[in-house]
């Protein structure tokens, strides 16, 4: 095969254009470096009328928004999903892991929930606190300046609460709660569970001239055409281009491996151009991997050479290990006091206006780590599924269920907006035996060996899920609601979703000071290859009960500053 080489030598090649790659692109291009961004999916701009799904009505989709083509429904902006044609992954020993990939400029930041939480000092040093897992080599004070910069650059709404485990930031003001959220606040307080305004990255107040201001359509998962929510393309990569940065974007380009020289240093990457299905090589002085925790691990493991026979920078054999996702379990409630609603526009921002941060001390509990509670409900746009079991809630009143005729209109209106739910998102303990590795028998349609997963929840996570279910039931009762469906029991791990389902997978290239136990240093620089950096969530030592994006952004900025500084000192 003839592999095509390009003569340009980029200062930096960035693999992946999501949160970690986007931030590295912005900071490094703004510093004047010549940057190549290699993205496995197509170009995406939510303002492009051809790509835009925002403000579409359900009936503009022939399937009315059903999830047959996109797993989160027709209007969700993620191109990809749990399964992608031609890009399989496999499992070991009958274990389960569901891997969500979004192939497009901006990656998963186009559709994510925008929940933007800072890790606390305890989150970085949890082993010192409870003996489980490992401490990070850095603490809150190392990351705080970057969290502050991210807040100011991108925008996050929230409120100052002075909670020790929920560090405050530079917040835009939050929106007022919706009706069902007021019921949640009431019920949760009665159960001794605190509730505070959400912390999410939508621009509720002007943050700069490049970004629009939220107009409350509630559709952030569709990506915002006025750039009022955070996506890596719209908020980082486009501005980097606009400010005159040298940014060359290679789309539909699937990186196969990092190329190295005789000294074992990176010289660039090879990738498959999905359009002509040929392999190409790009040369760069520095390689930043930001393809997502598992994809970056896959690239490293597939980058075998004489100098790196076990995969790039993997003599420790740690690449792929300590994979961990947030836990997730949910419960749904019917609230009779929310029946017979009068209609008004309560779309709000995309997602919840209030949430519950972790509020208990695990030293008094039978599981080591906490969870936060997310709330959903309201009178949103009817889409596929609306009207299913239209009057099933009649069961709570002992009246007839089913039937046909005009009474069903009245049933639909009576119950519209009376169902809500809550979801727990918790911290799992990173374990060496939960990992991804290369499947020796399988390649994808580009001929690249694929990942094989091995992942099991432990009793830590199961007991945490049980606690979630008990808490949900109590809160539902205290807000005057009725639980819907049977309580998930031990037979279903208390409703604990498969690992991977929360799409917070982290830890596969973890950071540390001990080179035998970690892959990168505190600046996310590979121990064994000093011109390769990893700025996705792979370097996370633990994930906290927080969504990882804000920390990915902060650490990517910190790493990018370090790269600039090292270049100035001519250390790279």
């Amino acid at each position: 095969m003839q592999i095509k080489e390009s003569s340009t030598v980029y200062d930096v090649i960035i693999v992946g254009s999501g949160a970690g790659g986007g931030m590295a692109t912005k900071v490094l291009a703004d510093a004047g470096l010549n940057v190549a961004v290699v993205e496995a999916g197509p170009f995406f701009d939510p303002a492009d009328p051809e790509q835009m799904t925002q403000m579409k009505w359900s009936y503009q989709s022939p399937r009315r928004g059903a999830g047959t083509q996109r797993p989160f429904g027709d209007f969700d902006s993620a191109y990809g999903g749990w399964e992608i044609d031609g890009e399989p992954y496999t499992h070991k020993d009958g274990t389960k892991f569901d891997w969500f990939r979004s192939r497009m400029l901006g990656g998963r930041t186009n559709h994510w929930g925008r929940i933007s939480l800072r890790f606390s000092e305890r989150d970085f040093k949890h082993k010192s606190y409870d003996g489980h897992g490992d401490d990070w080599p850095i603490g809150y004070e190392d990351v705080k300046p970057y969290y502050d910069k991210v807040d100011k650059l991108i925008g996050v709404f929230g409120s100052k609460e002075n909670l020790p485990n929920e560090p405050d930031g530079f917040f835009l003001p939050p929106p007022k709660p919706r009706l069902h959220e007021l019921f949640y606040i009431k019920g949760a307080r009665k159960s001794g569970v605190p509730v505070i305004p959400s912390r999410m990255s939508m621009v509720t107040k002007k943050i700069n001239n490049d970004r629009g201001i939220c107009f409350y359509c509630g559709q952030c998962n569709r990506a915002c055409s006025v750039y009022a929510d955070f996506s890596a393309g719209t908020c980082l990569i486009f501005p980097a281009q606009k400010s005159g940065g040298q940014v060359r974007i290679f789309t539909n380009s699937m990186v196969r491996e990092v190329l190295t020289n005789e000294q074992g240093k990176a010289t660039g990457v090879s990738y498959i151009n999905k359009e002509d299905r040929k392999e190409y090589q790009l040369k760069g002085k520095i390689v930043v991997l930001a393809a997502s925790a598992c994809s970056s691990a896959r690239i490293l493991l597939n980058s075998k050479s004489e100098q790196h026979p076990n995969g790039l920078g993997n003599s420790s054999n740690i690449v792929g290990k300590y994979l961990h996702d947030s836990t997730g379990a949910s419960r749904t409630a019917f609230v009779p006091d929310l029946m017979n609603r009068k209609m008004y526009n309560e779309d709000g921002v995309g997602g919840m206006h209030v949430y519950t941060p972790w509020w208990l001390d695990n030293k008094n509990l039978d599981f080591p780590r906490g969870y936060h509670i997310e709330v959903w409900g309201g009178i949103g746009m009817p889409s596929y599924g609306f009207g299913f079991d239209v009057n099933a809630l009649n069961r709570f009143f002992g009246t007839t269920v089913g039937g046909y005729g005009n009474s069903l209109r009245a049933d639909a209106k009576k119950y519209y907006g009376s169902v809500m739910g809550m979801s727990g998102r918790g911290e799992s303990i990173a374990m060496k035996d939960n990992y991804c590795e290369i499947d020796p028998n399988t390649v994808d349609e580009f001929g690249i060996p694929v990942l094989r997963f091995h992942y099991k929840w432990s009793d830590y996570e199961r007991k945490q899920a049980k606690h979630m279910q008990d808490t949900f039931e109590e809160i539902i009762h205290n807000m005057g609601g009725e639980v819907i469906g049977d309580k998930p029991g031990a037979d279903t791990d208390f409703g604990l979703l498969n690992p991977g389902r929360i799409i917070h997978e982290v830890g596969t290239t973890r950071m540390g000071t001990n080179k035998k136990e970690s892959v990168v240093n505190e600046f996310q620089q590979m121990h064994e290859v000093d011109n390769v950096f990893i700025t996705d969530a792979g370097p996370f030592v633990s994930q906290a009960d927080k969504n990882p994006t804000w920390t990915i952004l902060a650490l990517s900025w910190r790493t990018s500053d370090y790269i600039i500084e090292q270049l100035k000192k001519q250390n790279l």
Partner: protein, 237 residues
Amino acid sequence: MKRRESLKYIVLGSAAATMPLQGCENEVKTEKVVEPKKSLPAYGRTEEEKDHDEQLLEKQFFNEHETQTLGILCALILPANEEFGSATDAGSVEFIEFMAKDYPPFQTPLRGGLMWLDHEANSRFDKDFNSLEENEQKSILDDIAFEVEKDESTHLAQGRKFFALMRNLTLTGYFTSEMGIKDIGYKGNRPNVWDGVPQEFLDQHGVSYEPEWLEKCIDQSKRMIQAEWDENGNLIT
């Protein structure tokens, strides 16, 4: 249709169900002229998704008889009232036709359910469901439309399963249509400025905002003013 003919249909129907796609394509060509509908107005599809939609739109799953029955059923499930049309008027039949192709697991339950309905109609009245008087049609629906304490082991249990699926698809088709969204009263999907639940609805549901919570929230009159903070993160604009 006579009983013997309906039995012929059962045989053809089950054969068609085992190889549905080919069977339907042939049916389309010989029995019905389908107006070609090559593409839909843009709703943010990728090229692959556009191709998929177009392929489905070119195929016809339900035959003419089945489509007619679906129309009658959708209008019985949700008939017109003074203000709004029926589910059939709102396009539920076209929606169900599309879903049967987009989600193949619907195909056999729907097609088989329609045959079940004709069989039941023939058993009771010696006619297809379509040919019955409305009160006769309703007499069958009355036996399968309601949830029962224990779904007894009579043949009606299968009819109930089918009808529950039909009702779900009919109503979701209706309430996600332009007409249905107007009917249900959804007021969103347009630019606005959220400033909390209007007082009258807070009162209706017996809840209120706490002053200390509202103090943290956005003053919407200042939303266009550039955000600035003091060094402690207090917003000063």
